[in-house]
């Protein structure tokens, strides 16, 4: 490790490229911690947003009309406003009102908590629509065939509609989740110490904006690349012969 630190020391001193995260222990630890925060924030956001999407599409198909309105309002609210505005709105407007009404001091949720909730709801709204498109793509005749074979409605959903709908939704969902991972950078505005936030802290101290911009760029390229590699493998594993992509 010492040689790596030495090399970057030399690079900063002799060549003027100051990658302080590789030789300054404080900056290095903070940056790693920032990447780790991005990873777990993204992970939980992805899980929650898929869950919200599934609940959304389930309620959307309910025969009880107010529930359908509710889902429509949810999708409209989160799809029609920018995620940064949502973060500000919930953190600076909703939280103070709620916490003063409930008499909680220091905020209802932490910065991280609001980022997780708001970004999951944001991507969940898109997932709702994506899953709907998947369900609507399942041919009615297929469901009727299952019904003719004696399947109950729940069995039809579990064994026919859902597996096919999920595969149809998969590419759009993957794109949406990639977007979600990139959108976690907006959590920076409400002071969640993720990658971009930490990078900003470092370049304010070290004046190495150019170097840190490059590092941040590479970090996201790698993180999203890994996520996509995982999703592609999963998609292949889910392949139904004669349905969707052939390979």
């Amino acid at each position: 490790m010492a040689t790596i630190a030495d090399f970057f020391h030399w690079l900063a001193a002799k060549r003027g490229y100051n990658f302080s995260i590789f030789y300054d222990r404080f900056d290095g630890t903070q940056f790693l911690y920032g990447i780790w925060t991005t990873i777990h924030l993204s992970f939980f956001c992805v899980l929650l947003s898929v869950l919200f999407g599934a609940i959304g599409v389930w309620l959307q198909r309910s025969s009880f009309e107010p529930l359908r309105w509710l889902v429509g309002a949810y999708v409209g609210f989160f799809r029609n406003t920018p995620p940064l505005v949502q973060l500000y709105f919930f953190y600076f407007a909703v939280d103070p009102v709620l916490s003063s009404a409930l008499g909680v001091k220091g905020g209802l949720l932490s910065n991280y908590g609001w980022a997780l909730l708001v970004l999951s709801l944001y991507a969940g709204a898109f997932n709702t629509e994506i899953f709907r498109s998947g369900i609507e793509a399942v041919p009615k005749s297929t469901c009727e065939a299952a019904e003719a074979l004696g399947y109950t409605p729940l069995q039809i959903f579990r064994h026919v509609t859902f597996p096919l709908a999920f595969r149809v939704s998969f590419p759009a969902m993957t794109s949406n989740l990639v977007n979600l991972i990139k959108t976690t950078t907006t959590a920076y505005a409400i002071s969640v110490a993720e990658t971009l936030y930490v990078a900003n802290r470092i370049w304010s101290d070290q004046f190495n904006v150019f170097e840190m911009m490059n590092v941040v760029w590479v970090v996201y390229l790698v993180l999203v690349g890994l996520f996509l590699a995982f999703m592609t493998r999963w998609e292949k594993a889910l392949r139904v012969p004669g349905f969707g992509r052939s390979k």
């Binding site: 404080f26 600076f92 001091k105 905020g107 936030y197 900003n200 304010s204």
Partner: protein
């Protein structure tokens, strides 16, 4: 095409037009015109601000008016002061382009700025970094911020040294309104910021900030200087200002003005008065 070319020639010529008056002896031309054109802040209470009637007033305006009075008395005529509002982002350009003769605008004297403009020494004020917190936050001194949550400004240069360095958990935001919101929502125990900005808040909104105080000794102090054009650095105008600043320190005028404008007296001002009276080199002109 012809118009475009003419436009380019004209736009290249404009900076030259503005730059030309800079070579003359600024003090002599001020005395001749009977007018001193000064760049001042109007958004930094109570150093430079607008009063209820829209007039520009403040501690810095009082200082520069006193300087005009001094050179006027010496020359035997009245020197009028024309105040030009400037912003932090354009103040040095106003000076370089010759639109103002002197700049007194809460500006820290830093080596980077010294490459572009001339700073008159000694400095007339000094600000640094401190923590703004209530009594009940338990913050008192830099040792006490360990483990505390401090709000701060994204991009500030002192977060690592004075925040993280002292073991605090620094939570940063993009702008002052967000910080104030977070602070009053109880998300931070204190606010790590420029002490003069903290002081000015208590002057403008005394009720809102009544419970807050400067809870740690001011550190990383940078002096505030009156600036002149780079080429005026060793000219009579700089010497005259320098003499005036020495006098302000010796006579305690800056301390008096601080009191007038509700700024608590700073240890730096008191030390400067002592040093100037004792003839300390810190108080010498043109360093």
């Amino acid at each position: 095409m012809k118009n475009l070319r003419r436009g380019i020639v004209l736009s290249l010529g404009i900076p030259l037009l503005f730059a030309s008056p800079a070579n003359a002896d600024t003090l002599a031309s001020v005395l001749e015109k009977g007018k001193l054109v000064v760049g001042v802040k109007t958004d930094f209470v109570p150093w430079g601000m607008r009063d209820a009637s829209g007039q520009i007033v403040g501690l810095e305006i009082d200082l520069i008016k006193d300087f005009a009075r001094r050179i006027g008395e010496e020359a035997g005529k009245t020197i009028e002061v024309e105040l030009v509002p400037v912003a932090a982002s354009n103040r040095m350009e106003f000076l370089e382009q010759g639109r103002i003769d002197v700049l007194i605008a809460t500006m820290a004297d830093t080596p980077e700025r010294r490459r572009l403009i001339g700073f008159v020494t000694p400095s007339y004020y000094s600000s640094g970094v401190s923590v703004f917190a209530t009594e009940e936050s338990g913050i008192d001194g830099w040792d006490s911020i360990e483990g505390k949550k401090l709000c701060g400004m994204q991009g500030a240069f002192y977060l690592r040294e004075h925040g993280f360095g002292n073991g605090a958990d620094v939570v940063t935001f993009k702008g002052v309104p967000e910080i104030e919101n977070a602070l009053f929502a109880g998300r931070c125990d204190g606010w790590l910021y420029d002490d003069s900005a903290l002081v000015s808040r208590q002057v403008i909104e005394p009720e809102k900030w009544a419970d807050y105080r400067i809870a740690a000794p001011v550190v990383s102090e940078v002096p505030w200087g009156i600036a002149v054009r780079k080429q005026d650095e060793a000219e009579p105008i700089a010497e005259a200002i320098s003499e005036a600043v020495v006098d302000w320190h010796k006579s305690g005028m800056i301390l008096e003005l601080s009191q007038k404008w509700g700024i608590p007296e700073t240890p730096w001002l008191i030390a400067m008065q002592e040093k100037c009276l004792a003839g300390d080199p810190v108080c010498a002109a043109n360093q």
